[in-house]
């Protein structure tokens, strides 16, 4: 979903710059980055699936309402999970920033 990317991309690029310039060992920070990127990608995919299930229900291609509901719920939960990961990362970054002189 474009709106998710629009909200999170600036933060991601900020993080990327910060970790690139301050990282002592590359492995831990890129681990965080990977987790977040995977989470975003997954959340996006699930959102798309939920959209398709909803459209199929509305246009009468399926009578499967529970599939659409479950898909929407999954999308909601994975999005919130991704948001929490992002928020934690951002606050960790800000805390590290404060630790500088």
């Amino acid at each position: 979903m474009d709106q998710i990317k629009a909200i999170t991309m600036p933060t991601l690029s900020r993080l990327e710059n910060a970790t690139a310039s301050h990282a002592a060992g590359g492995a831990p920070s890129s681990g965080f980055m990977n987790t977040l990127q995977q989470a975003i990608g997954k959340a996006n995919d699930i959102q798309l699936e939920a959209g398709q299930a909803t459209e199929a229900l509305m246009t009468g291609q399926t009578q499967n309402i529970h599939q659409a509901m479950v898909a929407l719920q999954e999308a909601d939960v994975s999005f919130q999970l991704m948001m929490q990961i992002r928020n934690k990362l951002v606050s960790a970054y800000e805390e590290i920033q404060r630790m500088q002189i």
Binding site: I7, T54, E55, M58, T59, G60, A68, F79, M83, N87
Partner: protein, 135 residues
Amino acid sequence: MMIFDRTMQLLNRTLDLRQARQRVIASNIANEETPGYRATELSFQDSLQAANRGRDFVSLAVTQGQHIGPRGNPVQQVMGKLGSVPAGDIPLDANSVNIELEMAKMSENAMQYNAAADLLARKFRGLLNAIREGR
């Protein structure tokens, strides 16, 4: 800035169409005893499906805020088609309303309307969640 995706537009249109369908069904039920009345129905699912499939969203950028973008979504133009309900046997008073069928259609229509409204509400909640950044 377009934040209401195609699913939300489809849901929006579905609500309009379902409401119109409800009016048609209600008038069928009201005219259950009218002599010579032919039952009608509003069908839109095929055209809705076609409109939803036949477009990939090309959102053209506008350079000035006041510029009006293209009409965009063909889903918004889907009107239903009024047809007459295929009747089995026409009774003596030439009234073709099948009351059980109309009641069942009304029930079904209400169910679908509720589903569309609920799904739209969830979409909005999801958007608000994203805007508030999960806090």
